[in-house]
């Protein structure tokens, strides 16, 4: 595994680097998709292509070492670059929760441990006008199960990509897994909600532009020298860009490039 800056350089020179674009634009105005109390909006702006699965020969993982590009929106909206771990989806029409994944178990500070993250809820599709509420059952940052958020009102007619950071129970600040989501109330609700945990990789600065896509700020960050954050990413992992703050009726777009280096085997 790569342990020095020179090893990273040599690895890039040996052709084990990879560039992937990360781009996207929600279909319309972002207002936050949960009308109950939240920890702020966090729309899903765009995603890069999933990392190769299986990984190429000679590569044990990918490490994000640079990120840069243009982030434009109608209000200042920095872009969070993160590995998105999809806990699952709730179909509001059928009230069926489909679980996909928990946060990964990795070695942290010498201890094998399941990661945790602030809980993000994103509209997987456009939402109908009277969607009702959802109640989320989760495993918290300490591994306690059967924690519940209580009923969270979903914003009617909110658009695909709109998102919010969920207020958890008591003093909980993070989630290891989401075990169930139940829809209630509303009138003929349709749409899907996707629940995510995030592995933070970096943030890109932006400033407000006149309208989405027409202006913005170019920003870049290295993940190797000044702010080393060599998180190992695996086969099929998805890196996405989330809008960090917002007001109401925010429009946003991003066009970025991510630079990875393939880690050695052994």
């Amino acid at each position: 595994m790569l342990k020095t800056f020179n090893e990273y350089l040599a690895r890039v020179c040996a052709g084990f680097d990879m560039r992937q674009p990360l781009s996207g634009q929600p279909p319309g105005n972002i207002n936050g998709n949960i009308t109950s109390s939240t920890h702020g909006t966090l729309p899903l702006i765009g995603c890069s292509k999933a990392l190769p699965n299986p990984l190429p020969s000679g590569v044990s993982a990918y490490i994000l070492i640079s990120m840069g590009g243009n982030v434009a929106q109608s209000v200042a909206l920095p872009l969070l670059i993160a590995k998105a771990v999809k806990f699952g989806s709730i179909n509001l029409a059928t009230n069926v929760w489909t679980h996909l994944s928990a946060m990964p178990t990795v070695t942290e500070l010498g201890v094998s441990r399941r990661m945790s993250s602030a809980l993000v809820c994103v509209n997987g599709t456009n939402i109908s006008s009277s969607p009702g509420a959802v109640t989320i059952t989760y495993q918290d940052q300490d591994g306690n199960t059967e924690e519940s958020t209580g009923a969270l009102n979903v914003s009617g007619s909110s658009l695909r990509g709109d998102g919010s950071i969920i207020v958890l129970n008591g003093s909980d600040w993070a989630v290891q897994d989401v075990t169930n989501v139940v829809q209630s109330g509303g009138s003929s609700p349709t749409g899907t909600l996707d629940l995510y945990g995030l592995v933070h990789l970096g943030m890109l600065t932006s400033t407000s532009g006149a309208t989405s896509g027409t202006s913005g700020q170019t920003s870049q960050k290295d993940g190797l020298i000044t702010t080393p954050n060599p998180i190992r990413l695996g086969a099929g992992d998805q890196v996405c860009g989330f809008g960090m703050q917002g007001g109401s009726n925010v429009q946003a777009a991003c066009l970025c490039m991510l630079g990875f280096v393939g880690d050695t085997i052994g």
Partner: protein, 263 residues
Amino acid sequence: MIKDSNGVLKAAVTYGLWSRFWAQQTGASSSATVDCGGVHGRRFDRTITVPSMSGCNQALLTNCDMSCGDANCTPHFCIEYTLGTLAISGNVFSAGVTMPIKKIGSVNVQTAALKPVLVVTTVLAATLPTITVTYTNQDGQSGRVTGTGTGSTPIILPTNAAVNSAFDIAPHLQSGDTGIQSVQDIDTSGGTSGALALMGLLPLAYNPAAKQHGPVHIPPLALSMPQYRVVTGDRLAMYIFGGFTPGNSINAKCGFAFAGEVG
């Protein structure tokens, strides 16, 4: 111990980074005045406990991205220690901990809270209460009292200060003092209910160029501030200070990573 960027890269392989994404929004806090630090402050009360370690016994913050939803605040990512608490009803003080000994470089240093902050943990029912803190200062001298000596004025909190309001009392330390090692007493002049905690902060990273919604990538290895290591059980907290609008709900978000080492 980690001494350069290569050390971080190596530690990431040897022990694995501890990395998390945190976010919180809190409601309105009370405005600070010149009688209580002069700078608005707010504490985000969902704190993070540093987890267990194996093979390493301390960790260094190597990466921190912070963003805040107000144009005029400076987010601080800190290790937080409860130096003492006060229940307004009955004026009941409870002692907390002494600031820890931390290794700075290769030297063990008895730290002092350069940022001692009075936090409202339960909303106060008190009209402009005068709060007096008796403490041991940065040099280990006990019996020091806020609001005494030339240039030091008493701490007077706003009436009915809101929960999560945070008041930096450093300007009110006894004349000549710069920090607090421990607290012997906290006293209020009046009030019927509510609670305060005096927190000692060791800042790990801060956003020095406040820009609305704009993240600042804090290079902890390059900052002109002590690189405190964290240990298992340390409590990490987010504060904002500055000219933000106290009456507003404000959210803050932080992505961070720590690398383990043997101290």
